[in-house]
């Protein structure tokens, strides 16, 4: 080891060097020892050897010391870093405290934007990303379209599509459960016995259905849903094997499914095996299996399964032993992933809202960036001083970014309260079509998401202003002037660009909101073609065991309707097998005498078919266009009759001679004579334009289906509340075993059919409103800043004789320019973006000229309005002060 170089003594002034220090310390020790040895008379070599021997393992000890000191150094650096961070936060906190107006605006802006995102995310998350309660839900798919949904088809697909490990079918089933002298009507599913193993879910208690549970005569078992088990049986584990009376017949409880299980939706309270008569091909191919769910074989891709399904489905045309389903049969068969099937209807709406929320956040960031830019130029002096005192640019950027982070973090914390309220609102007001909204409220994924947004937002709105504010040029000038310097043209360009972008986004969002609102209003104005005011409806389900006979069922309805009609204030009462607007009104294929009689080749599809009592048309205020309506004389043993809608009449009897012609069910059966024509009605929903409908008398329909679930409708003159309350007692006075459910007004039915539209419209409009507000704040901020920057110039102008109006128009003109530029870009963007809205719009074009004209004009007005305060300030520019400063 050589002598220590002199310069190293001063090294500490520059920076610490733990490694050099260790070397120096050891070297010093060895040299002292050597010197002692030399003094004792040893030679230089001997002294050296002696010193090293006494010291021990020099290099080992040096490396040990280095590692001890290195660790200490790292600890110290971490400590310093933390100290700097806390210091930055403290400085940021004080800086915000000095500008409370700015702080509150900024924090509120970011809180609203983050809350909007987190709230929307909370249900997008549960809708699109949450685990489905099935084993390996990714390989479950629904067979959609192409086939008729008969059991024969289900069995054929199961057997022939090799990509399917298994296939089950399920269809809705309503039952009356009567076990404690307390009949309850429940919704559940009728399923094939293999459903639970296919879904990969075992009952929580009890056993799954036996393999042969769907054979005829076997299926007297019922699987309870967790909710029903808790609600009705208090979670009694002894329920398994107990006998329940389902539709008047004894069923034995097979088990209870776990609480997380729901299939196909949370509405299903129970599952019972359907009956599959494998011995009868005709029965199989004429019995509905409902929907088909398939489990893909391991290793089979959706695309390959889809190809195979298509080939098999088309080939199944030849398998049908009853009738030829036609040349197009099977061609539309599609395989839809189960999750997509669940959320398909609302996926668009959810993604639209998500996009809107993202746009709002973007707007908030642009706004804050602008505010920060303006603020940075007001603080130019302070920053210049800090830079001059040796704060490097990185250090200053870090300080300013810390300020942004503090703003964002405070906003993020405030947003949690808003999010909690928002998710509660959504859970309460989301329409029933939104599945799987059980898991809302604050949860880990939301905290993570909002933290992520907070940091991303802070960087998004903080980086550019921080970078620009610390730009080295201008520092000297700012110091010299000792007051806020002119931010310069460059700054104003950045601000203007941001504000134009902001206006463009706000215009885009407002146009979307406008289109949705117009569409919703158009929908609300729409009449289904029948009256909906002062009508109370209810669902009635007579137990199968006591109402298996058409005459008995008809007598029940006649008694119930007669007693209801006798109530004071009731105008009329009727029954139907499918209540319109409440859900799809299913249609059927028909034969037409003289035009399409061949069951196997040319059946005609009619979109809707309804069985109604004679009073139905009067109750719903539907006029008979020609011919007659039904009467009580249209009995089961009388002439079989039918009503058709105008569109059906026009299509098949364009000469207007439909009355007296005959149509028939899609199988060999007696003809029905057309006795009247009624207007086209909207039956599935207000958007329904299919218009083709056939009506038959309920009395004649009951012979084919003696135990249908029926809806009754009562039109009242006076207080409909009293009518609603009296339905149950009236039905009970006829038969206490008959359950009454879903008592509501027809107006409620219509309103809930529009719930999804209303929900999306309200949310998008709310986002649009926020966007407009943010846009206005942004314009106000930028123009205020502009005016403050140009106070001096405006003062000079005033001194040179400019009138207040000259000066105000200077400011207003600039604002208008920004508004027009932003508006133009926004319109262009909206033209591109609203194409995605197409599916959600009704009776409004995606390029609706009214919306596209009004929104930008309105926005221009808002922009000018937001400029009024700064323009007024500008007119008060003090000419004397301005001149004195020069």
């Amino acid at each position: 080891m050589s002598r220590e170089p002199l310069w190293r003594r001063y090294r500490d002034l520059l920076r610490r060097d733990p490694i050099g220090d260790v070397d120096d310390e050891v070297r010093f020790h060895l040299e002292m020892r050597e010197r002692e040895a030399r003094r004792a008379g040893k030679t230089a070599d001997e002294a050296r050897a002696d010193a090293r021997q006494r010291f021990g393992d020099v290099s080992g000890i040096v490396s040990e010391l280095r590692s001890i000191d290195g660790r200490r150094e790292r600890r110290r650096a971490r400590g310093e870093w933390w100290f700097d961070v806390t210091q930055d936060v403290r400085v940021a906190w004080r800086a915000l405290g000095r500008a409370p107006g700015f702080a509150v605006t900024a924090i509120a802006t970011i809180a609203i934007a983050i809350a909007a995102n987190t709230t929307v995310f909370s249900f997008v998350d549960s809708l699109l990303f949450e685990r489905l309660p099935y084993g390996d839900a990714g390989s479950l798919a629904i067979v959609s379209g192409g086939v008729n949904g008969t059991l024969g088809e289900a069995l054929a697909l199961r057997e022939r599509v090799r990509s399917f490990a298994d296939l089950a079918s399920y269809r809705p089933r309503s039952i009356t459960l009567n076990d404690q002298g307390d009949p309850a009507q429940l919704d559940g599913e009728s399923v094939t016995a293999n459903l639970f193993p296919l879904l990969g879910v075992a009952p929580m208690i009890g056993a799954p259905f036996a393999v042969d549970a769907d054979d005829p005569g076997k299926g007297r078992v019922i699987m309870l849903g967790y909710g029903l088990w808790r609600r009705r049986y208090g979670g009694d584990r002894g329920i398994v094997g107990r006998k329940l009376i389902v539709d008047g017949s004894p069923y034995f409880v097979s088990g209870v499914m776990p609480p997380t299980f729901q299939f196909p939706t949370a509405r299903a309270d129970f599952w019972v095996p359907m009956t599959i008569d494998r011995g009868s091909a005709v029965a199989l191919w004429t019995t509905s299996g409902g929907s088909f769910v398939a489990r893909l074989r391991r290793g089979a891709s959706l695309a390959s399964a889809q190809r195979e399904l298509l080939a098999v489905a088309v080939g199944m045309r030849r398998l049908n032993p009853v009738w030829d389903p036609g040349a197009n049969y099977g061609k539309d068969a599609r395989l839809i992933p189960f999750r997509q099937h669940l959320v398909g209807k609302v996926r668009d709406a959810a993604l639209l809202l998500w996009a809107c929320a993202a746009v709002v956040l973007l707007l908030a960031c642009v706004n804050l960036a602008n505010l920060l830019l303006a603020r940075a130029s007001a603080r130019e002096g302070e920053l210049a001083v800090r830079a001059a005192l040796g704060g490097g640019r990185g250090r200053l950027v870090r300080q300013l970014l810390t300020e942004s982070l503090v703003i964002a973090a405070l906003g993020g914390i405030a947003s949690l309260a808003l999010t909690a309220a928002g998710t509660r609102w959504i859970a309460a007001s989301a329409p029933a079509e939104f599945p799987r909204l059980g898991a809302t409220g604050l949860r880990t994924s939301l905290y993570l998401y909002s933290s992520l947004l907070t940091v991303a937002a802070a960087l998004a709105f903080g980086l550019l202003p921080a970078w620009r504010a610390t730009a080295p040029r201008g520092t000297a000038r700012a110091l010299r002037l000792g007051r806020p310097g002119g931010g310069g043209a460059a700054h104003q360009r950045v601000s203007a660009t941001l504000i134009i972008g902001e206006i463009a986004i706000a215009v885009l969002l407002t146009i979307s909101g406008g289109l949705l609102s117009r569409s919703f209003l158009a929908l609300r104005e729409l009449s289904p073609g029948f009256r909906t005011e002062r009508i109370v409806v209810a669902r009635i389900n007579p137990p199968k065991a006591s109402y298996a006979d058409a005459a008995r069922t008809l007598a029940l309805y006649q008694q119930v309707l007669d007693r209801l009609r006798a109530l004071p204030g009731v105008v009329n009462a009727a029954a139907t097998n499918q209540l319109p607007i409440a859900g799809p009104v299913f249609g059927m294929a028909i034969r037409i005498q003289g035009q399409a009689e061949d069951v196997r080749h040319n059946l005609q599809w009619v979109a809707h078919s309804q069985a109604i009592t004679p009073e139905y048309l009067d109750t719903f205020g539907v006029p008979v266009v020609s011919g007659r309506g039904f009467t009580t004389a249209d009995r089961a043993d009388g002439q079989l009759v039918a009503l058709i809608s105008q569109s059906v009449a026009k299509r098949y009897w364009p000469a207007g001679d439909a009355i007296g012609k005959r149509i028939g069910y899609p199988y060999d059966s007696p003809w029905l004579t057309i006795v009247g024509v009624v207007p086209d009605l909207r039956l599935d929903s207000l958007r329904d334009t299919s218009a083709m409908a056939v009506y038959v008398p309920l009395a004649q329909r009951l012979t084919a289906d003696p135990n249908p679930v029926l809806s009754i409708a009562i039109r009242a003159r006076g207080d409909i509340g009293a009518i609603e309350r009296s339905i149950r007692p009236v039905v009970e006075s006829v038969d206490t075993q008959v359950a009454v459910t879903e008592v509501r007004t027809m107006e409620d039915v219509v309103a809930s059919s529009m719930a999804k539209s209303r929900f999306t419209t309200i949310l998008v409009s709310a986002f649009a409103l926020v966007a407009v507000l943010l846009g206005a704040i942004g314009i106000y901020g930028v123009m205020s800043y502009l005016v403050s920057q140009r106070t001096h110039e405006l003062g000079v102008r005033a001194a040179l004789g400019a009138t207040p109006w000259d000066i105000a128009s200077l400011v207003l003109r600039r604002s208008a320019l920004l508004g027009v530029a932003g508006g133009a870009i926004g319109i262009a963007g909206a033209l591109a973006a609203t194409r995605a809205l197409h599916a959600m719009l009704f009776a409004v074009s995606t390029t609706d000229p009214l919306t596209f004209a009004i929104v930008p004009l309105g926005f221009l007005a808002v922009a000018l309005l937001a400029t009024v305060p700064p323009a007024r300030r500008a007119t008060r520019s003090d000419p004397v002060g301005a001149l004195r400063r020069d």
Binding site: F28, H29, F55, G56, I61, I68
Partner: protein, 115 residues
């Protein structure tokens, strides 16, 4: 030269604390003072002193500062902190109790009772 005793690890910290109680010292003078005081009975491998010093610095018992030695060289001086002073008192007491206990056993005159 008297026979030497192998230095007991652990005791080294106590000796450093005691040495520094006289005032700030650099490593070399600590080593020399210990050897002088014990007349070289404790055979201290001088290098092992330094890791002990650096660890004690980590523990906050001693402070280190670069200064100038008696022969005008740059040297690292160690001094006792308040925590180090407390440690010295406690360790000294423990040491005496230990030594006393061992001494009692070694000077015992009663033979153990067989049970």
């Amino acid at each position: 030269m008297p026979p030497t005793v192998e230095f007991r690890q652990g005791a080294i910290e106590l000796l450093i604390l005691k040495t520094l109680s006289w005032g700030p010292q650099h490593g070399f003078s600590i080593a020399r003072w210990i050897q002088d005081t014990t007349s070289d009975v404790l055979r201290l491998e001088e290098g092992s002193l330094y890791p002990a010093l650096h660890r004690m610095e980590d523990k906050g018992w001693i402070d280190a500062e670069w200064g100038t030695s008696e022969n005008n060289r740059r040297a690292k001086f160690y001094s006792l902190t308040t925590a180090g002073r407390k440690q010295l008192t406690a360790d000294t007491r423990d040491w005496w109790r230990y030594a006393d206990a061992v001494a009692r056993v070694l000077t015992a005159t009663v033979k153990p009772v067989r049970i």
